[in-house]
């Protein structure tokens, strides 16, 4: 697949390497000459120096045959411009934008760019997981299905303690897919699996029901 990556910073550079390893044809468009040079030294002749919001540069990069455009610069307005032009003007089938300011997710969706990756949110969720201070961590979002894969810890005195999974009033569409216990071996749960304080559950939850779901496991 021919993929154009907009932005040759750390994310763009790393992504590019991974895409090449998978056998894809990749072009990076980067404004900074120094970054271009750095990428070309390591990965070969595959970087175009210029502004990917400019139609002339996109044409030079062969945008009309690109099957995917991924915009990962540190500037949300640049990512939006590159994705909108790729999608609306050149009919690129798939566009993905990194957003650096979480509030922009809604704005991008409203302006026709639905597939966004929120860098701040993702890094924060991973750090939250490492701290062990938060009862619920969002591991992954399955955007087109409106689902989240979450890791939730059964809190002290929470409504779930001592109950079998089958008796929990989980919000509609939620699935507990595994239970990680600290004393016994982790298991694939059944309706009879009894939950204990400190157990960790990997679950699939509809995005709109996250807070309802969290309340069942919240300690006091």
């Amino acid at each position: 697949m021919y993929v154009i990556v907009v932005g040759g910073g750390d994310v763009g550079h790393y992504l590019c390497k991974q895409l090449l390893d998978e056998g894809h044809e990749v072009l990076v468009i980067e404004k900074d000459a120094g970054k271009c040079e750095h990428i070309e030294e390591e990965l070969g002749d595959m970087c175009l120096h210029g502004d990917a919001s400019e139609i002339a540069i996109l044409n030079k990069g062969g945008i009309s045959r690109a099957e995917m455009v991924i915009a990962v610069t540190g500037e949300d307005d640049n990512n939006l411009a590159a994705c909108q032009i790729a999608k609306e003007k050149f009919n690129v089938p798939r566009v993905i934008a990194r957003i650096n300011v979480p509030r922009n997710e809604k704005i991008f969706a409203k302006l026709g760019i639905e597939c966004v990756v929120d860098a701040v949110y993702l890094v924060s969720e991973h750090i939250k997981a490492e701290t062990m201070l938060f009862p619920l961590i969002r591991l992954f979002t399955i955007r087109d299905k409106g689902l989240e894969i979450v890791l939730v810890r059964v809190g002290k005195n929470s409504p779930a303690v001592g109950k079998p999974i089958g008796e929990l009033s989980l919000p509609l569409g939620s699935v507990v897919s595994s239970v990680i216990c600290h004393e016994v071996e982790s298991q694939i749960p059944t309706v009879d699996t009894i939950l204990r304080e400190g157990d960790e559950l990997v679950c699939l939850v509809p995005s709109e029901n996250i807070s309802l779901f969290q309340a069942i496991f919240r300690g006091s």
Partner: protein, 127 residues
């Protein structure tokens, strides 16, 4: 949005004509370009932030004009004004002439100063 030379001058002219004008910019020092008798409002903040725009009175705006030096920023703010706040008239400056038509197709009035100036130069040369 954007209190550079163009933004400040436009704000001043509209203010003199009796319109209610608010200028938004991220740089406090940029407001020094407004004349001392400017009776409109200078609002410090990022015009791609919905909350900032709301506080600046965007919901009542009849016209929004984006004239920072940055094409992409102008395009984003202009689209927020049009699509989220439903501002009746939205204008933005897009230096890149090839993109002027593209953004015009997205419902905002994009003006390329490059194209305007080239036309002017050509007219002078021919006149």
């Amino acid at each position: 949005m954007g209190c550079g030379r163009i933004g400040a001058e436009l704000a001043h002219l509209l203010d003199v004509e009796g319109h209610k004008v608010t200028v938004i910019d991220v740089d406090n020092a940029s407001f020094d370009k407004l004349p001392p008798d400017f009776s409109g409002m200078a609002f410090l903040g990022d015009a791609t932030d919905e909350e900032v725009l709301r506080k600046a009175g965007m919901e009542q705006a009849d016209v929004f004009v984006a004239v920072t030096r940055d094409d992409e920023l102008n395009a984003m703010a202009a689209q927020i004004a049009k699509q989220i706040f439903d501002v009746p008239r939205v204008l933005c400056r897009i230096y890149d002439p090839l993109r002027e038509d593209f953004y015009s197709g997205l419902g905002v009035e994009a003006i390329s100063p490059t194209r305007v100036f080239v036309r002017l130069l050509k007219e002078r040369l021919e006149g």
